[in-house]
């Protein structure tokens, strides 16, 4: 019997305590950010959209090897000796012509593993986060500007499923 009344009392008391807390929260400042009108400033390390400054790319393919989900596709060919020498922004000589540098952003897992090995730091993840598109194929970012000059090699046979 004693327990019965104790239970009733406890129920009422704890309910009132809870109501006090929620009641106080009615008057605290809310932490909502009104998104489309107020935009979030992301920190500089934010890993969002990938960007490649193709002028600095030397075509070494380290990013392609690092990518755990294979979303970077690269084709290169040797530049002719006769062509004028070009250099990346940090002075690295560019010996390969990058004819394909495709990033399929719909496959990207935003792990940032591709940007670390990049010797000229031309591949970066930018803090830009609004890049939704209407069609999935528009997520294929094609950075290469050079056209292949040598006759194209026969297309490689498709990767067997489950293997690398």
């Amino acid at each position: 019997m004693k327990r019965y009344f104790k239970d009733i009392f406890q129920s009422i008391w704890t309910v009132l305590q809870g109501m006090k807390i929620t009641g106080l929260h009615l008057f605290t400042r809310s932490c909502t950010l009104q998104y489309p009108s107020v935009k979030w400033e992301l920190p500089e390390r934010s890993r969002m959209r990938l960007f490649n400054k193709i002028e600095d790319c030397i075509g070494c393919g380290q990013c392609v090897r690092a990518c755990p989900v294979d979303c970077i596709y690269m084709t290169t060919e040797k530049r002719n000796k006769e062509e004028p020498p070009i250099f990346a922004a940090d002075g690295t000589p560019i010996k390969l012509r990058v004819t394909q540098f495709d990033i399929d952003m719909s496959l990207c897992c935003y792990c940032n593993l591709c940007t670390y090995p990049c010797p000229t730091h031309c591949l970066v993840m930018t803090p830009e986060y609004e890049f939704a598109v209407q069609a999935k194929q528009d997520f294929l970012y094609r950075f290469a500007k050079d056209e292949p000059q040598a006759p194209p090699k026969p297309a490689p046979s498709p990767r067997p499923a489950g293997a690398r």
């Binding site: 704890t14 807390i21 932490c31 920190p43 690092a66 897992c109 940032n112």
Partner: protein
């Protein structure tokens, strides 16, 4: 006699895989007799993403983003376990700054993870407000992480032999600021939820895991400690220098009903957040100088060997069994998930309860399907 006459009255209720409170895509086959649940059959695998097969096809550092995606609530802890296992395989020793940063991030992540687990548990029991209060706090931790490494959920922070980023300038002060304003929130949560009579009634004598069951089913983490066993890998098998920190291991005391109930497990998590705060404070105080990339190997290529290494994640003991054949890619990566083992206990503890109790139990064992199904 009576029971037999009504034997045909049982109904099979298919709960999940799309259900608001099965914490992902768990499917439960319930045999119900009115509100009473006669039998529970869990069906898992709806979130199977072939982690182990993937891992056999990528180089060692490439596995880390996939580790993050197993227990996506506690990514820092997941990748930490993997990084430690690979380091053990290679016999690699990291410097003190890396160790301290790892502890710091693991504990921050533990707070974030427990906040989510407590919040969703409140929602399972029917209380919405604590859920959003928890999420508000969790966002602050995630903001810190984003500032640190650029991602909010899947960090890819712990690398083999180091961490990806050193902390940015002002990170310490910001973390301390977070801690000062977070401490009162725990007290508020106690008042709003933990000691609420309805919450106690719903959880305090439901889903009891006995000590024997817990050991036989290899229940670990807060679920084990809720049953009164003071077992924490950070104390028993210290890694990352946990032995040099001062902290307590909270255990369930059975204050409100039998020991090992849902409420005990829930309350262990609340108390663990307090301990984590202490750990973060110690880590911030000592933070030694050093280069976080100092020991990162150019090429991760362990010699032929194998190792089973386990760490204490917010959900319990996460084990990695790595087999290396001396190549650049792991020969075998097996993950022992803490949620997997505790979920296997669900039929035993849920039988005879009510439909509402099933929800209370699933919430209290704090499962993440991504880790169970891998």
């Amino acid at each position: 006699m009576q029971v037999e006459a009504y034997a045909g009255e049982e109904m099979v209720l298919n709960m999940g895989p799309q259900h608001p409170s099965t914490h992902g895509v768990l499917r439960l086959e319930l045999e119900t007799d009115g509100e009473i649940v006669r039998n529970v059959i869990p069906h898992i695998g709806y979130l199977h993403r072939c982690f182990e097969k993937h891992a056999e096809n990528i180089d060692y550092p490439g596995v880390i983003p996939f580790c993050d995606r197993m227990d996506y609530i506690a990514s820092m802890n997941n990748s930490l376990g993997y990084a430690l296992a690979v380091e053990k395989l290679m016999g690699l020793e990291v410097n003190e700054r890396v160790k301290t940063l790892r502890v710091l991030m693991a504990e921050l992540n533990r707070i974030a993870s427990h906040l989510l687990s407590i919040g969703t548990y409140a929602m399972d029991i029917g209380s919405f407000t604590p859920f959003l209060h928890c999420f508000r706090e969790r966002e602050k931790v995630l903001d810190l992480f984003e500032w640190l490494c650029g991602a909010r959920l899947l960090y890819n922070y712990n690398w083999v032999g180091g961490v990806s980023h050193d902390i940015p300038e002002g990170f310490e002060a910001k973390t301390r600021e977070f801690m000062t304003q977070f401490e009162p929130v725990i007290a508020e949560m106690d008042k709003l939820l933990s000691y609420n009579k309805i919450f106690l009634e719903r959880t305090a004598d439901v889903g009891i895991i006995s000590e024997e069951q817990a050991l036989s089913h290899n229940v670990t983490g807060p679920n084990l400690r809720g049953s009164g066993i003071a077992w924490d890998l950070r104390k028993e098998e210290p890694y990352c220098g946990y032995e040099t920190y001062e902290f307590e291991v909270p255990v369930g005391l059975g204050e409100h009903g039998p020991l090992g109930s849902c409420w005990d497990r829930y309350y262990v998590r609340i108390r663990e957040m307090e301990q984590s705060l202490g750990l973060i404070r110690q880590a911030l105080d000592r933070l030694p100088e050093g280069d976080v990339h100092e020991h990162i190997p150019r090429r991760v290529r362990p010699a032929k060997s194998e190792v089973y290494d386990r760490t204490e994640t917010p959900r319990g003991e996460l084990g990695y069994y790595l087999v290396s054949d001396g190549g650049l890619i792991p020969f075998r990566v097996k993950v022992k998930s803490p949620c997997f083992t505790v979920l296997s206990l669900l039929p035993a503890i849920a039988k005879g309860g009510m439909v509402a109790d099933i929800i209370a139990i699933i919430g209290s064992i704090d499962i993440v399907m991504g880790e169970i199904d891998r």
